[in-house]
């Protein structure tokens, strides 16, 4: 079983950063690797700033506080929506709730 890992040219795991503690890890689950390799899923990267914009948008428009991990999905959906246009129907898997993350968000937004 193999998976994707952030590593240097000698196979040493790289240090990582993410504003979301759950994503601050250099690897992904092997199921994601399999879904990517078989072409059944497409993966995109999202920056801290994009994720926090997604967090902000969902809080303000829907009154739902997403987990910082899930905020990445919201950011990805916003990006995808811009690409597909207003008629697109996009389903977002909001995998976690963000009440655990309000301290991080508060520090990030300075509120």
């Amino acid at each position: 079983m193999r998976t994707y890992v952030l590593q240097d040219e000698e196979g040493q795991t790289l240090d990582t950063h993410s504003i979301s503690a759950g994503l601050d890890y250099p690897g992904v689950g092997p199921e994601h690797s399999w879904l990517k390799d078989t072409g059944r899923a497409e993966y995109r990267s999202v920056s801290d700033a994009q994720a926090m914009a997604g967090f902000d948008a969902l809080c303000k428009t829907e009154g739902i506080i997403p987990a910082l991990e899930s905020s990445h999905a919201v950011a990805g959906a916003i990006e995808l929506g811009r690409e597909l246009g207003p008629d697109a129907l996009i389903l977002v898997n909001l995998s976690g709730r963000g009440d655990k993350d309000v301290a991080t968000a508060s520090a990030y937004f300075g509120v």
């Binding site: 193999r2 890992v5 040219e9 000698e10 196979g11 040493q12 795991t13």
Partner: protein
């Protein structure tokens, strides 16, 4: 026949366990590490485990984890590991590389094996590789005539011991306890049982590692095992020494103590 097999046979003929000593390459720097492993050879170590410093040393306790972190910060590369292996081989001792799997996988199992064999290395100890995932390594080891040392844990059931020992060559690494590397006050009572379970499945030598650090403990382990593996105690002496010369002297003294300990009579 590999240099590791020869070393274990020689030890057995002398009614003692083989002494296997571990040090990571590049700690505290490349040349001092090489001098230290050569001092181990000169003072009576039969097999040297050259550690390949890795960023995620999941089997290691704080002493070794800190040492390999410092080796990596110092810029240690795979090529430095091969150079260290070559120094041991040139001194006439058996050298195994103890490595987590990802650096080998990234390098390519066959290319790594080729370069290790060219350096005079005898094989690999692979703590985080399971037999089921070891296909490329098993093939590369066959192609380049290298030994394959896998680990058996106190929790390994008989079918697991069978699967692990079947792919081993050189010796089998018997982990004495369910834990990480580091010195312990006493040898865990499970160690003899692990060795006994290994012997039910293979005629390969069984060497006990994790938590063995003194001549007295080596003597106790030698009463039931074919080899005694010592790592953290060497690394701690290297880490605690004020100068590289002190580090070498301290490693030499510990090796002599352990080499006396592994004698059964």
């Amino acid at each position: 026949m590999s240099t590791v097999t020869t070393a274990f046979e020689k030890a057995a003929a002398e009614d003692r366990a083989a002494l296997v000593g571990y040090l990571p390459a590049g700690f505290p720097d490349k040349q001092t590490a090489i001098k230290a492993v050569l001092a181990m050879v000169a003072a009576g170590a039969d097999v040297i485990e050259v550690g390949l410093p890795y960023s995620d040393p999941l089997m290691d306790g704080p002493v070794i984890a800190d040492a390999v972190y410092r080796a990596l910060k110092g810029g240690t590369k795979v090529a430095d590991v091969f150079d260290t292996v070559a120094a041991v081989a040139d001194a006439g001792a058996a050298a195994l590389v103890m490595t987590y799997w990802n650096p080998v996988d990234h390098y390519g199992a066959d290319a790594f094996s080729r370069d290790l064999a060219n350096a005079g290395g005898a094989g690999l100890i692979t703590p985080d590789l399971t037999p089921e995932e070891a296909g490329p390594w098993l093939a590369a080891a066959d192609a380049h005539h290298l030994d394959r040392v896998f680990l058996v844990a106190p929790s390994s059931p008989p079918a697991r011991v069978e699967a692990i020992t079947k792919v081993c060559r050189g010796f089998v690494y018997a982990v004495s306890l369910m834990g990480i590397t580091g010195e312990r006050a006493t040898v865990n009572s499970a160690a003899a049982g692990v060795v006994a379970r290994i012997r039910e499945h293979t005629s390969l030598p069984a060497a006990v590692g994790v938590g063995v650090s003194t001549g007295a403990q080596a003597h106790e382990v030698a009463s039931f095992a074919d080899g005694v593996i010592v790592g953290t105690a060497f690394v701690r002496r290297m880490a605690d020494a004020a100068t590289p010369a002190d580090a070498i002297a301290s490693v030499r003294a510990l090796t002599a103590d352990l080499a006396a300990g592994v004698r059964r009579s």
